[in-house]
């Protein structure tokens, strides 16, 4: 049976970031199962983009009230709707109301810091009323279940998937030359440089560099990503790492350029303490790069075993230095460890979850 889905999301097509990418992957997987999906985002412009068959995206609506009105209008236009998919817990109350009005199921997606921070009663009640909640990692699921009363079987984990372009390959000499990077070794961090994302731990890596450079004299830290916190981070890097050029800020790197960047690096390091999942760990590992992540949060799911890398308590500088040094000496990781995260597995899991939501009895008869 074809499912008709209304997806209320923060961002999806035409937007950057891990959550937008996750939403795109999920929408594509569900559309691949025959679902007809109308996406209503708060951010992102999909005009001019070729969307998968069965998927439409309306123009983004940012304001809360406007978005709510748009959601009701989209619901009316897209009816009959079987499932209202909510891509962010912030919108859970709205999604639940729309679902109830439509007599549809409510499928809520939780990522990471969204459920760690927003613990308002109205959000909690909406989450508890959802037919199914999916989370990107076991850590997010565990944290969610700390404060919402949901039967465990209604909270499933659907981890990020990694794109087919993320595969091992030879380091690009052209890229090395373009970036003006010496023989290395190269530590790489990819992530948004926003004040709200300081948990990613860039500064912690900067602080380790002097000690690491004693053993690896040519070591440099390449930071990919853009954001309002960049100037401050650059200042901190200069302060913590006296050696000029030891930290290189690349700014935003387009998705299509990321595989080459991963292949160029020797170790991916992001000692994040609150990562919901950390798709960049997975991408790096899929390109054959060994990975050091932060313990806490969902990084443990993106770095599933020692073939790929390890997680470390990011507050322990000595441990972080030791982990980076050991990982550099170990060389590259085994990309086969990321096979379970490839798209076919993700799509199969998404289809199973879709079937599970559809199998649940509807709670309320909706509009005609």
């Amino acid at each position: 049976m074809t499912a008709r889905i209304l997806a209320l999301v923060g961002d999806c097509y035409g937007a950057r970031g891990g959550i937008a990418r996750y939403n795109r992957d999920l929408v594509e997987a569900l559309a691949g199962a025959g679902a007809e999906i109308l996406v209503l985002p708060r951010l992102g412009d999909a005009s001019g983009l070729a969307l998968p068959s069965g998927v439409r995206q309306w123009p983004a609506v940012f304001g809360q009230v406007k978005f709510s009105i748009a959601a009701l209008w989209a619901a009316w236009r897209h009816r009959p709707v079987d499932i209202v998919f909510c891509g962010h817990v912030l919108m859970a109350p709205l999604a639940l109301v729309v679902a109830r009005l439509l007599g549809a199921h409510c499928w809520l997606q939780a990522h990471g810091t969204d459920v760690w921070v927003d613990r308002r009663e109205v959000v909690r009640r909406a989450i508890e009323a959802a037919d199914m909640v999916t989370t990107v990692s076991r850590a997010t699921r565990r944290i969610l279940l700390e404060w919402v009363n949901l039967a465990p079987e209604r909270v499933r984990v659907l981890p990020n998937t990694v794109g087919d372009q993320f595969v091992p390959g030879p380091p690009s000499a052209a890229l090395r030359q373009r970036l003006g990077i010496g023989p290395g070794p190269i530590l790489l961090t990819v992530g948004r440089l926003a004040p709200g994302d300081r948990y990613k731990g860039h500064e912690l890596v900067f602080a380790c560099l002097p000690a690491l450079r004693a053993e690896f004299p040519g070591l440099i830290h390449v930071v990919a990503g853009e954001g309002d916190d960049r100037a401050r981070l650059e200042a901190r890097a200069a302060e913590l790492v006296p050696a000029p050029g030891a930290v290189r800020f690349l700014g935003y790197v387009a998705d299509e350029d990321l595989p080459d960047l991963y292949r160029l690096a020797d170790l991916f390091v992001m000692p994040s303490s609150e990562e919901g999942f950390g798709i960049v760990y997975l991408e790096a590992a899929a390109c054959g790069l060994r990975v050091v992540g932060g313990a806490g949060g969902g990084a443990g799911d993106a770095i599933p075993d020692a073939r790929v890398g390890l997680t470390v308590d990011s507050s322990n500088q000595a441990a972080l230095i030791e982990a980076i040094g050991r990982s550099l000496r170990q060389g590259r990781g085994d990309p086969a460890a990321t096979e379970a995260y490839r798209r076919p597995h993700f799509a199969a899991a998404a289809r199973l979850l879709l079937a599970r939501v559809q199998a649940r009895p509807c709670r309320k008869r909706g509009m005609p």
């Binding site: 076991r138 565990r142 279940l145 700390e146 404060w147 009363n149 499933r156 199973l352």
Partner: protein, 557 residues
């Protein structure tokens, strides 16, 4: 995980890992039926497509085996475990409704790539599970799940509050957020999308309602039915390839079991009685009366005396074996210890008789409270107001029982009156015991009144007796008595069988109203005249009933 449960099965251990390495079972064996390797577990079907790890006993396995053989199924062993595999192959998940016994099992169906978890109808055998979203783990002990090291031990406020309210942790909660009890009478299917919702296949209130339908029974018939039901249940519970003993207190319930065993021709019966050094020579000492009863039936009577020093020595081991916190179970620990010392593997217990036959004061108090107070329940806020006022008076030291304050607020509903009767503390008394945030969260998730009331949801228009029987059976007996019997018995590698806790037995009993009218408790003993006369001759029949020591403390009379 399996090592943590070594005491549950000292006769052997086994492991099985699926061909793709994505599923595995482990098992500790206490060999009771088919002592050969044929009874070893985990056990696979002949073609390897089904694999099971099973805890418990199936008392009607021979009948089921014969039925399946008649349908063309070929058996490789004499074990009840293989009957489960063949029964699943024949009936699928519906097999659980055919089983008479105590069980908790996980059954892997390789063809359908699904795992069936199931627990017996009344919750004799425990089954705990933990799901982190990637991996589902299950075990007979919650502490075994923790021992594996991969399951979080974050506290669960609902379980902690539930323990403080009731003295045991109400299912499906445990005191750990990540670990859940599979409720009694439910199955749980795990497939590629993870665990589904637990499916109920048995409900006590529903079963009592079915029993009550259109059956008016006179006292004489009640007594006959009762006698036949006890006899039949004991007969089934004697199925074993090792000797079956009995835990004998001075009460009528266990005496009736011994009488039935003797009447059924059981030979060389061992009867184990617990005595306390501090009670020696006093009225509370059960040993003399139990000795009379044992002698009457020619049983080998083992009296095990416990003193304070032994209790203090054993306390650390007790706390370690205690899977979930409980305010009871100590007597079972020591009587099981005595049984183990005597080389006994299996013993019958009179547990559950009070729930069937109305042996608790709650059978009188709860209906009386509901009927008397319903008249004032329509005044909104009155109960809460009175409770607050009286609480203040109690705090001022007026000597009023704390529960009295809640009488108007709680006493007019079945759930409220039951909570008043059974609670250790009432919700408003927990402020001083539990962190406020944890208390609030725990009460919110536990929703004690709604949870208690749910027991009666499928019971329809049950009579007073059956309502209380359903509550006691589904809550106190399940969460406290049966759980305690399991951990305390299995810690000593002793299987405790409970003939009064059996859906087939419950269904064979006369309706609750008839049981109430016939004074079923006395009738249990009376059906076997010789036994009753023996007790009467001792002149302590009534006293004996009151001195049913292993449960006396927790009756909270």
């Amino acid at each position: 995980m399996n090592d943590r449960m070594a005491a549950r099965g000292p006769d052997g251990s086994g492991y099985w890992i699926g061909a793709d390495g994505r599923i595995g079972f482990a098992h500790q064996r206490l060999a009771i039926i088919d002592l050969s390797e044929g009874g070893a577990q985990p056990k696979a079907s002949a073609d390897g497509s089904l694999v099971i790890t099973f805890n418990g006993e199936i008392y009607n396995y021979r009948e089921l085996r014969a039925e399946l053989q008649a349908r063309g199924r070929v058996f490789q062993s004499e074990s009840d475990t293989e009957v489960l595999l063949q029964l699943y192959a024949e009936y699928g998940d519906a097999m659980v409704g055919r089983l008479r016994g105590m069980f908790a099992f996980g059954l892997w169906d390789a063809r359908q790539r699904r795992l069936l978890l199931a627990r017996d109808p009344l919750g004799i055998k425990p089954l705990y599970w933990a799901d982190d979203g990637w991996t589902l783990r299950f075990a007979s002990q919650a502490k075994a799940l923790l021992a594996g090291g991969a399951v979080s031990n974050d506290p669960d406020p609902a379980g902690i509050v539930g323990f403080h309210l009731l003295g045991s942790v109400p299912e499906p909660f445990t005191v750990w957020r990540s670990i859940h009890t599979l409720p009694a009478g439910t199955t749980l299917v795990v497939d590629a999308a993870g665990p589904g919702a637990p499916q109920h296949y048995y409900d006590v209130a529903g079963a009592l309602a079915a029993r009550a339908t259109g059956r008016m029974v006179d006292p004489a018939t009640t007594h006959r039915q009762l006698a036949a039901a006890v006899h039949d249940s004991v007969r089934h519970h004697l199925v074993a390839d090792v000797p079956v003993a009995v835990f004998l207190s001075a009460g009528l319930d266990s005496g009736a079991l011994l009488g039935s065993m003797a009447q059924l021709g059981a030979r060389d019966i061992s009867a184990v009685t617990l005595a306390f050094e501090e009670f020696r020579g006093a009225n509370l000492d059960e040993a003399p009366l139990a000795a009379e009863v044992a002698a009457r039936y020619g049983a080998r009577h083992i009296v095990r005396t416990v003193d304070r020093a032994e209790f203090e020595r054993d306390l650390p081991a007790i706390l370690d074996a205690m899977d979930l916190p409980t305010i009871d179970g100590i007597n079972t620990w020591f009587v099981a210890k005595a049984a183990h010392e005597a080389g006994i593997k299996v013993a019958l217990s009179g547990l559950g008789a009070d729930e069937c036959f109305g042996g608790y004061p709650s059978f009188v108090d709860v209906p009386r409270s509901v009927h008397w107070l319903q008249a004032v329940s329509w005044i909104p806020g009155l109960g809460a107001l009175v409770r607050r006022g009286m609480s203040a008076a109690i705090h001022a030291g007026l000597g009023v029982h704390p529960k009295a304050a809640g009488l108007l607020q709680y006493g007019s509903s079945w759930a409220g009156a039951y909570l008043l009767r059974r609670s250790v503390y009432m919700p408003w008394e927990l402020d001083d015991l539990i962190d406020p945030a944890m208390l609030k969260e725990g009460l919110r998730r536990l929703a004690p009144l709604r949870r208690i009331g749910a027991v009666l949801r499928d019971g329809g228009a049950l009579g007073d007796f059956d309502r209380v029987a359903a509550l006691e059976t589904s809550l106190y007996m399940r969460d406290q008595l049966l759980r305690d019997a399991d951990w305390a018995g299995m810690a000593h590698s002793v299987e405790i069988r409970v003939p009064y806790v059996d859906p087939f037995f419950l269904a064979a009993l006369p309706p609750g109203d008839a049981l109430a009218a016939a004074d079923a408790k006395a009738a249990v003993a009376g059906w076997k005249g010789e036994f009753l006369r023996g007790v009467a001759r001792l002149g302590v029949a009534c006293l004996a009933s009151r001195l049913d020591r292993p449960r006396r403390r927790v009756k909270r009379r």
